[in-house]
């Protein structure tokens, strides 16, 4: 019984993967026609890596780190600097001139991403050393501060020979095809979820749930938090590198605190402590940010409902819609999720076939229970009414 269930699950997984690959192949076959979809998918995948990495430290280890944007910034610059074609470097760095020591070093994308991860991990280890020994709140503020420091350093003239200061790095070669991007993202997420499912992941959760008890079980708090923080930051760096390749440039103005908050929105919406939730959150937020772009434009009613053109009503401006409204909606969404739906889409459990299959039955059960309750209440009310009548009658 069990094995058959397992084999069904494997088949379902295989079918899903095949479908995804097929869909991607379809998109890849005509990149010009599907460029919009490709953009959304690539962006979502990259944000999914960032969201899962943030979830690793916030959701699974319970340490409130808000340095994602900072690490992404480092990753973006490192990847950008080492992947732009050597020929174009003098042109890009025309103002400062690229430093000789790195001028001729060009790395393949994977190596550049690995370098980003390594550097981000090292930096995280250094920051974590003082901060992770303290309460989680200090981590939040220290990592936010760190993001600002990173932005300042990369925008500084003094490092112009390396970072091109405020001009940033541009002309980064794009992904060879959509598979490259999706595959790298997939591998990153896979590694993180394997870590979470390992013995170390269990230690993370123990630290999150009760640090005193975890410590009494022989789990070294600092080293466990440090591991999670370093891995999370390293993958945030990879996500930053991917984002730079995706946007074909790395500029400090991309990596503001708002980016961290955006990724936090994905994590919270998807479900704190759930890898699949973060992935869904990333796709949902990225997708809807594209689809809801119309909220930022000013319309008259006839633009939206053609039948109204010519009438007075049709030429009236649609209220509220103007630049910035989309982000207001998103921030309200974040608040609503935090206040009323704090488990997010998946809660802290992972999405699995069993769970998806059980959704209809769970819903049915909930419906039945509600119906039963309504029935009972009705009966009670009827009884009460009957009693009242009797009393009145006497």
């Amino acid at each position: 019984m069990k094995t058959s269930k397992k084999s069904i699950r494997i088949i379902a997984d295989a079918v899903l993967v095949a479908l995804v690959i097929g869909y991607l192949a379809l998109l890849q076959s005509n990149t010009t026609a599907h460029s919009y979809a490709i953009t959304i998918i690539e962006r979502s995948c990259i944000y999914a890596v960032a969201a899962v990495s943030m979830n690793l430290i916030i959701g699974f280890t319970g340490q409130f780190s808000l340095g994602t944007a900072g690490f992404m910034c480092i990753g973006a610059y490192v990847t950008g600097i080492f992947t732009i074609p050597v020929k174009m470097r003098d042109q890009i760095y025309y103002l400062y001139g690229m430093a000789d020591c790195i001028h001729d070093i060009k790395l393949p994308l994977i190596a550049a991403l690995a370098l980003s991860a390594l550097l981000c991990g090292l930096i995280a280890a250094v920051i974590g050393w003082p901060v992770l020994r303290l309460k989680s709140d200090y981590l939040a503020i220290a990592t936010l501060g760190f993001s600002e420091i990173v932005r300042a350093i990369f925008g500084w003239d003094g490092l112009g020979k390396i970072t091109n200061a405020s001009y940033g790095v541009s002309n980064i070669p794009p992904f060879a095809n959509i598979f490259e991007c999706v595959a790298i993202c997939g591998v990153c997420i896979l590694i993180m979820s394997l870590l979470i499912r390992s013995s170390y992941g269990r230690a993370f959760k123990a630290v999150r749930d009760d640090d005193v008890a975890a410590e009494a079980m022989g789990i070294n708090l600092f080293r466990t938090k440090q591991l999670s923080f370093v891995v999370s930051s390293a993958f945030a760096g990879v996500a930053g590198g991917l984002l730079a390749v995706f946007m074909r440039s790395a500029v400090t103005s991309t990596f503001t605190v708002a980016l961290t908050y955006n990724i936090l929105l994905m994590v919270v919406l998807g479900g704190i402590g759930s890898v699949s939730g973060s992935i869904i959150g990333a796709f949902l937020v990225t997708g809807s940010q594209e689809w809801l772009r119309f909220l930022d434009k000013e319309y008259v009613f006839s633009d939206l409902i053609p039948g109204l053109s010519g009438t007075v009503f049709g030429s009236a401006q649609v209220p509220l819609l103007r630049n910035g409204f989309r982000m207001v909606i998103f921030s309200i969404l974040l608040m609503v999720v935090v206040l009323f739906w704090n488990h997010g889409i998946t809660g802290s459990k992972e999405l699995s076939w069993a769970r998806i299959i059980s959704i209809p039955s769970v819903l049915r059960e909930r419906k039945l229970r509600k119906a039963e309750e309504a029935k009972r209440r009705e009966q009670e009310e009827a009884a009460a009414r009957a009693l009242e009548k009797e009393v009145r009658g006497q």
């Binding site: 013995s199 230690a203 008890a213």
Partner: protein, 311 residues
């Protein structure tokens, strides 16, 4: 079983003998019984309050030793020093001959130090709770501290993490397959032994209170301890459950060759299972000895009942 019981009786008889004839037989007894935990002049001061004052205590291999005292006597503080939560202000804690903790008042604490034996200890040695657990002292908490949202199985499994031979890389990529399998099997075995296996997939927080206590003890056992420290294991239990618990404690002592130090309020439990009892009040040791001796000690009675000492 019966052999062990007899041995234990012999032990307790020997302990009584120690009381009767002084130092000579004490060294003889120490030779016979391996010392596990020793507190020397332990003092813990918070600001001006001396929570534990000059407490010396010994626990020998295979014993069940109880630390009793009225509320606020400093029992849990002493416990927290042993398990590394606090650094003692003064004194030394040795475990299997190794110094785990040593404290001497320094800086501002030296000026305000109100305890005894200042200057006897000169070093500050501190081990964190996880290092102490690694050394072989496991503990439970007065107010149960499980991971309530995790399954019963995971609660115990996580305690195996400490002794597993692995690193993040091997663990992530499944290269520690054998180790992981061993951890899971041992966890299953432990749950079976504690009759918790049928609840393995339940959320720990959903178990009834008594079972949560047992699970917490099982989790402590999973760290392969030599000394098990139980902080008020019978708190909130009814008489029947308490009775079961005392059998349970004896059973795990024999089964896992443990030494047990417990803090307790329930006199029934303490009297029934302890080989020796230490009683403290206001941080100071006021009596030690077998259950009977302590129960009849006027100082203990007055500490518990608040009577004036009868001369």
């Amino acid at each position: 079983m019966s052999v062990q019981e007899m041995e234990k009786r012999k032990d307790s008889a020997a302990a009584e003998g120690v009381k009767a004839s002084e130092t000579k037989s004490e060294t003889a007894a120490a030779q016979k019984k391996e010392n596990v935990l020793r507190l020397e002049d332990l003092t813990m001061q918070f600001g001006g309050v001396v929570a534990v004052n000059n407490l010396s205590l010994e626990v020998n291999k295979g014993e069940i030793v109880a630390l009793i005292g009225p509320n606020g006597a400093g029992k849990t503080t002493a416990f927290n020093c042993i398990t590394g939560v606090y650094q003692p202000t003064n004194g030394r804690i040795t475990f299997l001959g190794q110094t785990l903790m040593e404290g001497c008042p320094t800086g501002r604490a030296a000026k305000t130090y109100a305890g005894e034996k200042a200057g006897k200890y000169t070093k500050n040695i501190h081990h964190s709770p996880d290092e102490i657990c690694r050394a072989g002292i496991a503990r439970t908490f007065q107010n149960i501290r499980l991971f309530p949202k995790q399954s019963v199985f995971d609660n115990v499994l996580v305690a195996k993490h400490m002794r597993a031979k692995q690193n993040p890389f091997t663990a992530t990529f499944g290269l520690n397959h054998a180790e992981e399998k061993r951890m899971r099997e041992e966890t299953w075995a432990l749950l079976k032994e504690q009759n918790l296996d049928s609840y393995a997939s339940y959320e720990a927080g959903s178990l009834p209170y008594g079972m949560q206590r047992r699970l917490e003890i099982a989790r402590a056992l999973a760290t392969d301890p030599k000394l098990l420290c139980l902080d008020e294991p019978a708190a909130g239990m009814n008489p029947q459950e308490t009775l079961d618990l005392s059998d349970f404690i004896k059973k795990i002592r024999d089964q896992y060759h443990l030494t047990i130090l417990l803090i307790e309020h329930h006199m029934n439990l303490v009297m029934g299972i302890s080989d020796r009892i230490y009683c403290i009040d206001f941080g100071k040791l006021i009596a030690k000895g077998t259950a009977e001796e302590v129960a009849n000690d006027p100082k203990v009675i007055s500490a518990y009942l608040g009577m004036q000492e009868v001369v």
